[in-house]
Symmetry: none
Subunit: 224 residues, 4 copies
DNA sequence: CATGAATGAGAGTTCATTCAT
DNA sequence: GATGAATGAACTCTCATTCAT
């Protein structure tokens, strides 16, 4: 069987497997609609009704794929974190792992900048993150799912941590620094996203760059 | 008549003045109820109905004191910012203005810590701030009121900025640093408040102290 | 199977068609309730809550069938205009179109009387018309719907206009006369409906008959 | 006592009389405010709150002068009817009473036109009239007040009736004709005011003139 | 006479969710 | 799996009116 044909032929699946696949596809379709709505109308404008309509379903149908509105958001956030990880990985693509000090410094810059820029450029993804952060714990989000999302967030920050360690920080130091960096980014993004940063006539990207520079210096000092 | 007795006597007020006072007291009473509700039930659980009930009123009565729900929030936030300023001022009480380098370093620490601790200790005040940050612009919040609230926020950070300048930073540098510090605090507080910081097994207060230490070093370096 | 039996059998409908039919029936049910409320309690007494209760629904359910209260009124008015047209058509049933001068005079009388009597006998339909006349434009009533309602009103008056033309009036004259007749009817109905006509110890039906007589004479004179 | 002094000196009144005068003046002041509000914002926009504010009072104070909102409207309508009468009288000023046939025809035209134009030019006065016409009977309007208002309305139409009689109509005929004319005017005004007359591409003033011409002809015929 | 405070009833509307079919 | 129908609990806000002071 030639290769092209292989690509064109859908894989033979047993009945239950095919059903699972189709179900997944439909769930994805709903998710696509949800994303479109959320990115277009924001948190306030997003309702099950709207999502259903956009997906070509009736509201009730959504509950075939998601147990609650919160679960939709969680799925959306999961997706968002995947995109975040992809963005970070892409930034590091040429040199996936730091071989020397120079590579490590470079990776620190690239990974951190990619992280920051992802949210700076896609404010709706930030909203999504905040929705999780805030009132969501109560219901809809199992702790298992919560952990999974946390893991993907940490994955996105792993290259930064790795670089800091490559620059000579201990595990403990690196962990503290990556946490601080994450907090700094979040703070700047929030200030920027809500327009509060205008109060100070500052630009979040410049402040983040400055923070990174200092971190670099600190890392240098530590390893000297 | 001895002086103490004079102090004990409530001041004689003209009729309109007394009425104004009483009206203010009632408005304050509503505000107290609103604060209680907000601190107890959070943003989601706060409604005009609930506030009214807590205050011993019917919903309509609230509108004698506040034009809209947003105005209630704005007032609540205003109060919160006053408390913030008071906390910062209290921390600096002994030496209101830095006379020398040592005082300045001390003021930087005290003011920044007071700012951070206020929100770390009173997470609902953070929520309140976030409500302002987010969807509020649309209506209910005149830009004049918005500016006034911003001003009080900046007031709370002014001692930090002042200390940085006293340590030899230019206006521009100090402004950038105070913005960064604010962002760092916000980021840490958010991470802490939403429990995300547990992901990193870090404590926001320690991270903030570390940040402050570095800032102090930077300021020292600059002025050397 | 005999023909009558065939008629008795409800038509087989496809699923979606049956559902549409049932949905329409439910909408009609709501409309029936709305009409009952409106006819019983008038404009002031009509509320979504009351309609819902009368229909055996919760208020929210009404919004499955009508987008707004105004839309309910518009539908009610639509119905009313259908009844008006039916009343006029019924009055003219024997001779749908005037063949000669005598028929035309007869049609003028019958159509105009039917129009007038419809509203004289059903004052709530007049209220409904007034609701359209007044504040409704703002929202809930698309200009398309507005035009459709206007069209049905004009349909109801068309036989009068037709008769006038058959009696020798030009298009322009007939249009002016039918407008005047409409206005006269409206004026008398309002006076009658609001009891103001008692002031003059007159009966609106007699005055309308007199008006019609004069119109007939004018039409005769014109064609002599 | 010189004349000018007499004009400048307010009349000496006994205490109760002075109080009555002042009370009347304040009531008038409220009424002025009410009129301003009503003419500016219409029925929908008029509330006791708004009237009170405009008058420099609190809502409760209005009830010192009027027993209910309806009573305010009634008073407003009373005023309006005075203006109507004044407008009709002014139109007839040169020849207050018809001496001959020519005068009578002239008076018919002038009085009827003045009546019609008053409402055509002051649509808010028409609204006021309609408010009385409609839901008002229930409360707030004593039958005595109702009669008084009716009387003033009839006064405004009296010159028309008088003219018709002067042209040879019997009392009965004249009464019927004036009622019909009133109804015609009302119908045209309503159609015009609500924009419905556009449906027919007609102008209410022209139609009213035509109606008047026909009435004149009828009156001529009757007296020949 | 006027105020200031408050009532109470009600308005229209929205929405996540449930469930029989 | 999906529909269509409906729930029910909220929501903010408006207003005429009352009444002690």
């Amino acid at each position: 069987m030639p290769r092209t044909a292989a690509l064109a032929t859908p894989p033979r699946l047993t009945r239950p497997a095919r059903q699972k696949t189709m179900s997944d596809a439909r769930r994805q379709h709903v998710l696509d609609a949800a994303r479109a709505v959320f990115f277009e109308l924001g948190l306030e404008g997003t309702s099950i009704r709207e999502i259903a309509q956009r997906a070509g379903y009736t509201p009730g149908a959504i509950y075939s794929y998601f147990a609650s509105k919160e679960e939709v958001y969680a799925a959306l956030l999961g997706e968002s974190l995947e995109r975040l990880n992809a963005a970070v990985q892409e930034a590091l693509a040429p040199t996936p792992h730091p071989d020397d000090r120079h590579d490590a410094r470079r990776q620190l810059q690239l990974a951190a900048q990619a992280f920051f820029s992802f949210y700076a450029d896609n404010p709706r993804d930030l909203d999504l993150g905040f929705y999780l952060f805030q009132g969501m714990q109560p219901r809809g989000l199992t702790s298992e799912l919560d952990e999974q999302l946390n893991r993907r967030l940490r994955d996105a920050l792993a290259p930064v941590q790795e670089a800091l360690q490559a620059l000579g920080m201990t595990d403990t130091e690196a962990l503290a620094e990556v946490t601080a960096l994450f907090a700094h980014a979040v703070g700047l993004l929030v200030l920027s996203h809500t327009g509060r940063i205008r109060m100070f006539r500052q630009k979040s990207s410049e402040l983040f760059s400055a923070y990174l520079r200092q971190l670099d210096e600190r890392a240098q000092g530590r390893s000297a």
